[in-house]
Symmetry: C2
Subunit: 545 residues, 2 copies
């Protein structure tokens, strides 16, 4: 028996596009003599569809897509994820299902039992968990169908859940398991996924065909990396990360394989490639081609520019250099050098005139006050306004260049440098931004060396340095990580050896700046805890603040 | 037996403040000879605590608060909501619990069974549902304790749930029921709540002491309106909306009462009073006193200004009038008249100079283009920048003045008129904004008549009217309502008699503008479906767009 795995990039709500993509894949798989083709979780409607699932019309369209695919399931079977209406009045209205389509009709439906409802996931908002578990028979084989999280509670060891779908299915003696996933990327997730797949084969001793979604949906990256596991716990094949892939595998070969073929999981490579895909899909799925961004000569905008150029092509990225009286000489040179290295159009727009005009309008109202944060913010917002003016006039989406460290402590100006349709490196701490810059330069200087080596500065007042207001990033970032990713208490963090006063100050900054982060662009998620939909905090809260 | 109900305004994460408030109430209730005092759901930590619940330290503080309250439960029993750790490894880490504290200790804990996970609610993200139901004995009475949603599935008729906590508790023959709620306001919810309470008494024939949270937590309003129901289904007492209240009731009187005392549920009064509380608490809980807003002479900013003045006092609200070459003569007069009617400080800042400076910087880059949306947005953003400059300099929070209709179709400038820390009327459709203005003027002109009667305009180009780009609001608003609140399909809405092309255009506008709404301020929620945390839509979706 031959099994095709289609690791494809679906688009939420684009039923026609998704179905066409799957029908094309069915054709290719047939040419490869596949008996079964597998698509990922909720492939018909895209994942995560969020509250579109509350629209009856949206579910009608998903049902129609399944019917169209069922008709195409002749001479080949199709395993595909789609939402299903729950016929029982009690419980949620929908199931998150794996369909098995064969002989031109729906042969079997297995609903998902384990519904992630944490971080970016809201599945229990929409779906009822499965309580029945049945294998499907096809061409003499018994197949266990599971959906994503269903394989993450092996032998009921995951404290979140009370049922283990594969434990339920094993008495029916499946020959192999197909898992339809939409498993989001984080830089540590690919390794975790292989580990859980190995644990599954160790317990169940059957081959696993794990097919994952590839592509970005706004801030969430799906890295693909679909896996075929031999029953001996070796990786028969791992599909590439961050791209579509269709391959057909021979079950007998998978059953007897002894090699273990695993691709590299280098952190910086994963973050780099993931973000590049994130930018590309955000633009592609919204129907835009061109980006714009402000280049300050600093490392954040430099890294963002490189990633954008690699995602969209340098011809589609326009850089704007906006020096002020506080900009150092090297800033404009560093920015210009980078734009030229990348072969990117750049324009220089000094902010002096609008900044002076604002000061003039405000001067009667500002009388008796001294230069401070308000004046710094006017500069940042003047730049934001110029960038948006270019964005609106020429149809380029503005890219936000904030990093995770400054987003965390609110070191940024709302409606100023926090503008933009997409935050590119907002889930990358500053220390990691430096690593990313060095990774980018590994085969030769792309980002000017001076951009990497000079001390970070917002350049909004004379001789300003980030370290005037913040601790050094190699102290700040670990504190933030322990609080944000690990949700440690102030006491825990102080016990690790950090200064008590500093820890309290930093955690307070994080918590009082929820209002700023609430209003910022979606942040491409590369860590296990990014700002945005996966981290839901009260704005008026009074905890540690 | 005497039962005190404490309808209080708690602050998320402010354990010390919340406990102090409860200890004060305990003292008052004792003076009123109460045997039991009841607080609302998750009163120790405030509701909704969101992801703070994922911090062990936060739960430790909640447990400490319960212990402090238990010590105070001498000579009086305390019913209070607080999170509880789930001792079982499987399932979620926490329960959402009702504690019954008596004789200086925790006498009983009843967990919540029905965990709302829809709209603004994420309870299954954190909590495990109760599976055991036990009454508590106190001074010869048997008491059924329930938490909020637990009473919303009478006889298992609510399709969302599979268990009915009161059906489980009734065999233990409770003498009365205490329900601890944090039930958010919408303009139709107070009536729905009375209906469900009546249905409970009709089925169970016991008195109900329903105590609700009062106060706003960022965008979510809790209206109070706590209810004592007699077993005959009559309302013994209903506490006022949008304010704190503490009263002690005699159980025997509640049992025998025949009167039905219900307060008015006039929609405009509720929306008006709710928003006023929302503003007040947003500022109070963040520790701010003063607001600033732009007054255009239009109805949205006028209504916002009145609500802000009523919430914070006119001395704490500063209006900025920012005329341009496209402003009509009456605009500045109408805005000035309003500020003077309200007794509010106002300043005039013409935007011409910065606007001209921007045009000058941009002119080489804009060469060959004509005046359009980009130029309109520059004006809106210049105003936004001036408002933020005043906000940053003087510590006033900027209020956003967008209405729900324009937020829905994206008729607003991101980082321009969409700036602000809090959206005051962003859940009020334009037609309702007019009604709110008339409601405000019911006892005499506060908002200038001309502001209400003139055709709405953004005044960003010569003789502009909203109706140039949008249908009249009495057509637009119902289409939006059917789509947003009712989640109807395009076909459903067209079948109601609306123009097909228009319906498709409007729904497309709603869906392609998710990116704008993603970056806007929290919106004070007054309807059953507000933009923000309760409506989660993909940005890169391709449904109806």
């Amino acid at each position: 028996m031959k099994i095709a795995m289609a690791q494809l990039n679906f688009h939420i709500g684009n039923f026609d596009g998704n179905v066409k993509k799957m029908l094309d894949a069915v054709k290719t798989a047939k040419a490869q003599k596949a008996d079964i083709i597998c698509f990922s979780e909720l492939a018909t409607c895209g994942y995560p569809p969020r509250d579109f699932l509350e629209f009856e019309d949206f579910i009608d369209l998903a049902e129609k897509a399944v019917k169209t695919l069922a008709k195409a399931a002749k001479g080949i079977a199709i395993a595909v994820g789609s939402p299903t209406r729950n016929p029982v009045k009690e419980g949620k209205d929908l199931y998150n299902s794996a369909y098995f389509l064969a002989n031109g009709k729906i042969q079997h439906v297995q609903h998902k039992a384990l519904l992630p409802t944490y971080d970016i996931f809201d599945e229990y908002r929409y779906f009822e968990p499965a309580t029945e578990f049945k294998t499907v028979q096809f061409k003499g084989k018994t197949i266990a169908l599971t959906v994503c999280e269903d394989i993450w509670n092996i032998g009921n060891k995951n404290p979140l859940y009370k049922v283990c779908p594969m434990d339920e299915l094993m008495p029916q003696q499946p020959d192999f398991m197909i898992n339809l996933s939409a498993s989001p990327f984080s830089y540590s997730h690919a390794a975790a996924r292989l580990k859980i797949l190995k644990a599954n084969t160790a317990r169940y001793k059957v081959p696993i065909f794990y097919v994952n979604h590839s592509g970005a949906q706004t801030e969430i990256l799906f890295d693909g990396g679909s896996v075929v596991m031999s029953p001996n716990g070796k990786v028969y094949d791992e599909m590439p990360y961050f791209q579509e892939c269709l391959k057909t595998y021979d079950l007998d070969e998978v059953l007897t394989n002894k090699k273990n073929t695993v691709q590299s999981k280098d952190k910086m490579t994963l973050i780099h490639d993931g973000i590049v895909m994130g930018i590309k899909d955000y633009f592609g799925k919204l129907g835009f081609k061109r980006a714009i961004l402000g280049l300050s000569g600093g490392i954040d905008s430099a890294v963002t520019a490189v990633l954008a150029a690699r995602a969209l092509g340098p011809n589609n990225v326009r850089a704007i250099l906006m020096p002020s009286e506080f900009s150092s000489d090297h800033s404009i040179n560093d920015a210009r050098d980078l734009a030229m290295n990348l072969g990117m159009q750049y324009d220089i727009m000094p902010i002096a005139k609008p900044y002076e005009a604002f000061k003039e309008v405000l001067s009667p109202h500002y009388a008796g006050t001294t230069f401070g944060l308000a004046e710094e913010n006017i500069q940042a917002r003047t730049r934001g306004l110029l960038l948006m003016a270019m964005s609106n006039k020429f149809g380029n989406i503005l890219l936000n260049t904030s990093n995770k460290s400054e987003a965390a402590v609110g070191y940024g100006t709302l409606y100023g440098d926090m503008c933009g349709g997409l935050s590119v490196i907002g889930d990358v701490y500053k220390v990691e931004v430096f690593k990313l810059a060095k990774f980018i330069n590994k085969d030769g200087e792309v980002i000017p060396e001076n951009t990497i080596t000079k001390p970070p500065s917002a350049e909004l007042r004379p001789d300003q340095k980030d370290s005037d207001s913040l601790p050094e990033y190699d102290i700040l970032d670990p504190i933030l990580y322990h609080y944000i990713e690990e949700r440690k208490s102030p006491k825990d963090i102080i016990d690790m050896g950090y200064d008590k006063k500093l820890v309290h100050r930093i955690l307070r900054l994080v918590n009082i700046n929820e209002f700023k982060r609430y209003q910022t662009a979606p942040v491409i998620r590369v860590s296990s805890k990014a700002f945005g939909v996966g981290r839901r905090m009260p704005i008026v809260g009074k905890y540690l603040s």
